[in-house]
């Protein structure tokens, strides 16, 4: 795809919308666009993966496998969100599997290229990592909220304190 077209796409994505122009150019140059049919496994937990993905359209799911429970879907991600941070930060050792829930379109950036860009251009590195950190912090907060299990019913009924009852 034409890098200028890619740049235009990146400008529209929540993850990259705030990046300065030259960073966007560089990112666009390091990226391609890809169609992923529903059901495609993009990478597997424990496996390696060389790319960072930004979802343009469609929905991806992250799954972790738990013995006895099989693949547990942890999170679904949609347009504007980033998938595959381990490729960039964790030397490509993936912590979850990513599967396309529906036909999706993703921007694919090669992690090694991004690392090289980061090393070569601290400014690029700063801006990319800032977006990475912001995305990850949101995901961390979301995970915490998930962890709080806010919508769980009380495990056992507790006495109402709305009134003291007495025989």
């Amino acid at each position: 795809m034409d890098p200028s077209q890619l740049r235009f796409i990146l400008e529209e994505l929540r993850f990259s919308a705030m990046l300065p122009a030259e960073v966007l150019d560089q990112l666009a140059a390091a990226s391609t666009i890809k169609q992923i049919p529903a059901g495609t496994v993009i990478f597997r937990e424990g496996g390696t993966n060389d790319n960072l993905y930004l979802i343009r359209d469609g929905r991806l799911a992250l799954e972790m496998s738990v013995p006895g429970r099989g693949a547990v879907r942890i999170l679904t991600l949609g347009a504007g969100e980033m998938v595959g941070w381990s490729a960039l930060l964790d030397e490509g050792k993936m912590t979850a599997s990513a599967i396309a829930v529906e036909d999706s379109e993703v921007v694919v950036a090669e992690a090694e290229k991004l690392r090289q860009l980061c090393r070569a251009n601290r400014d690029f590195g700063y801006h990319l990592m800032e977006q990475m950190a912001a995305a990850l912090s949101k995901r961390l907060v979301a995970t915490r909220l998930q962890l709080l299990d806010l919508f769980a019913a009380s495990p056992t009924p507790v006495p109402d304190r709305t009134s003291e009852s007495e025989a």
Partner: protein, 291 residues
């Protein structure tokens, strides 16, 4: 906006003695999800039934003699005058006793009490309803009212998070709501086999919401306090202002009329100054621990 959606004056009979309940009979019990049922209650006294009106967001006090009384938000279509629906989760002694009751049994009802969703504010604007768990119940009357006068509003989005796919409330109504112009987005915290929908906390849906015009949107939020805090945070981050955000608070409502002191939060009695508050009014007191 039809005046029937403005919080009505209390029934004069109730106003003379706020403690006196009216008899209602259970007309129907609809199991919703595990531990949650909807009870259609009908007033025994025709005169009371005829004069009873509520606005979306208000609550009733349901009284089970011997077991106690609890505040339950009304989850019915405000145009329904024959019965009044309450969606209730078994959580304590009163709700557990209620769960053991059957069609035809009677109980006491006081209400309606409290403030309502500001539907008039929504005219000509987009509306986002963010809700979690049983928090959809107090939003349902607002959905009914919005859809009834659908053309008066812009885009309508419901963002609803539940614990798991089998705990999504009112699932049988989503298609109807969608057809009538409400976009229903659901997500679950705990996925299950075969669930093809979203997984993740409900605030993420707000984060992802497209076609979102922060300056021309009214947001209603109802759910656990922590969820509401982060929903508001997300909404503010997306450019909404505090005056466009309305939340429905919960405290230990006992008298429902501001006389017993139990449900105070800062300068407000949740029962009479709430439960629906504009966010900027309640904001200074929402983040203070133990207030």
């Amino acid at each position: 906006m039809s005046s029937s959606y403005v919080a009505p004056l209390p029934d004069p009979r109730l106003a003379t003695d706020p403690w006196r309940a009216s008899t209602v009979a259970i007309r129907a019990v609809r199991p919703e999800v595990e531990g949650v049922s909807t009870y259609d209650l009908a007033f025994q006294d025709e005169a009371v039934r005829a004069s009873y009106r509520f606005a979306p967001g208000q609550f009733n006090m349901l009284y089970l003699p011997g077991a106690g009384e609890i505040a339950i938000s009304i989850s019915d279509d405000p145009r329904n005058t024959a019965t009044c629906a309450h969606t209730i989760r078994v959580a304590g002694n009163v709700t557990r006793t209620l769960a053991g009751m059957k069609v035809g049994d009677t109980l006491g009802l006081r209400g309606p009490f409290g403030t309502s969703w500001p539907l008039a504010e929504c005219i000509g604007r987009d509306v986002v309803l963010v809700t979690g768990g049983i928090g959809l119940a107090p939003i349902r009357p607002a959905i009914c009212a919005l859809l009834h006068q659908r053309r008066q509003f812009g885009r309508l989005n419901l963002l609803y998070g539940a614990r798991s796919p089998d705990t999504l409330l009112y699932a049988r109504e989503y298609d109807d709501w969608s057809e009538r112009g409400l976009i229903v987005h659901t997500t679950v915290d705990r996925s299950a086999l075969g669930w093809m929908g979203n997984v993740g906390v409900v605030t993420l849906l707000l984060e992802r919401l497209r076609s979102f015009d922060p300056r021309n949107t009214v947001l209603f939020c109802c759910g656990p306090e922590v969820m509401m805090r982060f929903t508001v945070l997300t909404a503010l981050n997306r450019g909404m202002s505090p005056e466009q955000i309305w939340i429905s608070m919960e405290r230990n409502m006992q008298c429902a009329v501001g006389l017993c002191g139990h449900c105070q939060l800062g300068p407000d009695f949740i029962c009479k100054d709430g439960p629906v508050f504009r966010y900027d009014r309640i904001a200074p007191f929402l983040d203070v621990e133990g207030l």
